[in-house]
Amino acid sequence: MSDYTMTEQPKDHLVSALVRDEPRVLTRITALFGRRGYNIRSLSVGATEHPGLSRMTFVVTGDRGVVEQAMRQLEKLHDVVRIIDHSLEKFVDRELVLVKVAISPDSRVEVRQIAEDFRSRIVDVGRHALTFEVTGDEGKITAFIEQMRPFGILETMRTGRIALTRGSNADIPSHVYHDGETETLRPAVESVEPREERARDVPNLF
């Protein structure tokens, strides 16, 4: 793990950050990414179960070294309470997309049938277009869009990916933490008080 300069094909890495819910936090984080030249492929932000804390999930493209460096830079920010690298854990991830597909009297039935196969919901019905809502992992959404493409996609809007570490498979030891309890299964944050008190050693140095 300490060989950060290894050359490896850039991959997408899914990372979550628990951050203080304060003005400019998003700017601070995206500015850090921008300045250091890390590419964010997707970013989602939402409130958490803890008042005063938001959760961001982003997809960073790069090799392992780039992603670790990005996470460590993030961890230094005062507003960042916790970084979770989902690739080190078992996780579930989802994306939501709205797709507006052109329809004609001939294609209407077929389009609806495909949507049903994907367990997608119709959220808007028009004379010339249907709008679908699909949730799922990236692959499913991409597959849905590809299926709909021949009919004519008028507009799409995808949220970024969101992710949570699995709680159900806690009995399956994480490959990173060996047979120990996984870091992210512990209650995330007790409060939003001084960060240093909770300052953790950077994991995975060994």
Binding site: S2, D3, R24, A31, R35, K76, D79, D201
Partner: protein, 571 residues
């Protein structure tokens, strides 16, 4: 109590005795409240940049937090250079800025600037205080953040109406300083294993090791490993010790750069492997397993490949490594190092090097030496000898011209009992020379200014000579430089001048003996360079050891540089 009074009370509770600043419209309530807090001394600089560099000098000399104050808009933006400087050199700093009243914020009001937005990438953290109830807490937290872990600058922006608002709550007291994490014993064990097997070990200590100076000295002596101190780490290991090899990097010593290039184990402590230190990264310590002791996890593996990361406090790490020390008996390595050390060239010919050496040879162990940025800085770093940490103050990471003189004022005010000498160039001094007025105003008597005047922006000229076929574009200052002696005298600061080797010693004597702060201008030949030098983009082992003969054309390094640049791109 107003917010402004709560601010001063909080600073006083934190033991802040001196702040540097400059008033203006949006910070007036704070300056008004200052009159009620005589326990805090305010030093009026002549430019906000002077104020913040003085605060940095204070912090670098003492290791304690420096504080500076500015108004909104132009006052705040004048702090930007100093904040960036403090960020790169990990200087604990609190910058307080006024801002327009809350209802005017975001309206492009008079003297409004989004200073928190502007300084976002160059501060460790920053705040806008939108509620007076939060003011003391935010100030206390800002001080804690600036000082904790790897130190850095924190900016607190306070709207004018918040300064004026009534505050009835408690005034904040200092937070306990958080303890640094101790290194993991496994990491120390691995480091020890590497050191035990080492045939050509070397220690490299950076700016983060200054407060671990005693422990690192003990460590090096216990293992008998030679020590390199970076530009920021000068003083972390006594220069008089035979194990000391000097400074690494672009203008590093032959011994340091060769030792890095040959070493099989490199123990780096409290440093971030700046490119001026590493040279071409894929040519840096090519044979060495690197052990990196560092508090800031993000620095481990950021630039160089690290074999054994030791995250934690340098003091603790050095102690742990000393406890398990075993003297290494490496006669061949020692002989090799002795040979490299013998290649040190002492400037004997009249020139900038000779002048700098004549001045720094006069340093006493407690004297503080500051420098501005340029050839004189590198010469001072090469030629000065430091027995103690925090006696060398310069702008390392940002290379800020204009830094040296105000920083020397700050350091001199922090330690009125010692002499604070600054070596500056004729270019850099003119960037902040207005602070001569600060010397006069506070009757500061222990700041000695030395200007090495070669009538050029010397370092740029040196690069033009070496890499741009002597096209000296826009670096000649000779025709327009002021009479520095008269200039000093205009501010009631005594001025001295020396133009040759014969009169220099006498002038240095008179300058240092002057009971007041004084200025010494040393007029040197125009075209001296600083060597050794590692060209930008080259590896440390590709260093040019001595100045190429004058009559020869400048070496054509363009092909090599292009190749190096290509290599860096691919790396």
């Amino acid at each position: 109590m107003t917010g402004a009074k709560a601010l001063w009370a909080t600073l006083a509770n934190h033991g802040i005795s001196t702040v540097f600043g400059y008033p203006g419209g949006a910070i007036m309530p704070v300056y008004d409240a200052l009159t009620f807090y005589p326990e805090v001394r305010h030093v009026l600089a002549r430019h906000e940049q002077g104020a913040i560099h003085a605060a940095e000098g204070w912090a670098k000399a003492t290791g304690e937090i420096g504080v500076c104050i500015a108004t909104s808009g132009p006052g705040a933006t004048n702090l930007v250079t100093g904040l960036a400087d403090a960020m790169l050199d990990s200087v604990p700093l609190l910058a307080i800025t006024g801002n327009v009243a809350r209802h005017l914020m975001g309206t492009d009001a008079f003297q409004e600037a989004d200073i928190t937005g502007i300084t976002l990438p160059i501060t460790k953290h920053n705040y806008v205080v939108r509620d007076v109830e939060e003011l003391p807490r935010v100030i206390a937290e800002a001080i804690r953040i600036a000082r904790s872990g790897r130190p850095g600058p924190v900016l607190v922006d306070i709207p004018k109406d918040v300064q004026l608002a009534a505050y009835a709550g408690e005034v904040a007291y200092p937070h306990a300083r958080p303890e640094h994490p101790a290194p993991k014993p496994e990491a120390i064990a691995k480091a020890r294993e590497l050191l035990l097997a080492a045939k050509k070990p070397v220690i490299m200590a950076g700016g983060g090791s200054l407060d671990a100076s005693a422990e690192i000295t003990a460590l090096a002596r216990a293992w008998d490993i030679p020590v390199i101190t970076t530009l920021m780490g000068l003083g972390a290991f006594p220069s008089s010790d035979p194990l000391w090899l000097g400074m690494p990097g672009m203008h590093g010593s032959v011994a340091a750069n060769r030792a890095i290039s040959e070493a099989d184990v490199l123990l780096g402590i409290g440093l971030r492997f700046d490119d001026r230190v590493t040279g071409r990264v894929n040519g840096f310590a090519p044979n060495a397993a690197i052990i990196h002791v560092e508090l800031d996890a993000a620095e481990i593996g950021k630039i160089v490949r690290v074999g054994v990361p030791v995250r934690g406090d340098a003091v603790v790490a050095a102690k742990m490594l000393t406890e398990s020390a075993q003297k290494l008996d490496l006669p061949e390595w020692r002989a090799q190092i002795a040979e490299w050390k013998s290649r040190t060239v002492t400037p004997t010919e009249w020139g900038a090097g000779f002048a700098v050496k004549s001045v720094v040879d006069r340093l006493r162990p407690d004297d503080i030496l500051s420098s501005d940025v340029g050839q004189h800085q590198m010469l001072a770093a090469q030629l000065a000898r430091f027995e103690k940490p925090r006696r060398w103050i310069n702008s390392g990471g940002l290379g800020t011209m204009g830094f040296g003189f105000p920083a020397a004022i700050g350091a001199g005010m922090a330690e009125p009992g010692v002499t604070s000498i600054v070596i500056a160039g004729d270019g850099g001094f003119q960037m902040t020379l207005q602070e001569l007025a600060t010397l006069k105003m506070y009757d500061i008597r222990n700041v000695k200014i030395c200007i090495i005047n070669n009538s050029y922006l010397g370092m740029v000229r040196q690069w033009q000579e070496l890499f741009h076929e002597k096209r000296y574009s826009e670096v000649w200052l000779g025709d327009s430089n002021p009479d520095f002696v008269k200039l000093a005298e205009a501010y009631d600061v005594p001025g001295y001048r020396a133009s040759n080797a014969e009169e220099l010693p006498g002038m240095i004597d008179a300058w240092l003996a002057d009971p007041k702060s004084a200025l010494l201008e040393i007029v040197v030949p125009h075209e001296h360079g600083v060597f050794p030098m590692v060209p930008a983009g080259a590896a440390l082992y590709e260093m040019i050891e001595t100045e190429p003969p004058r009559k020869q054309p400048a070496p054509d390094l363009s092909a090599e540089m292009a190749e190096a640049a290509e290599g860096a791109k691919n790396a």
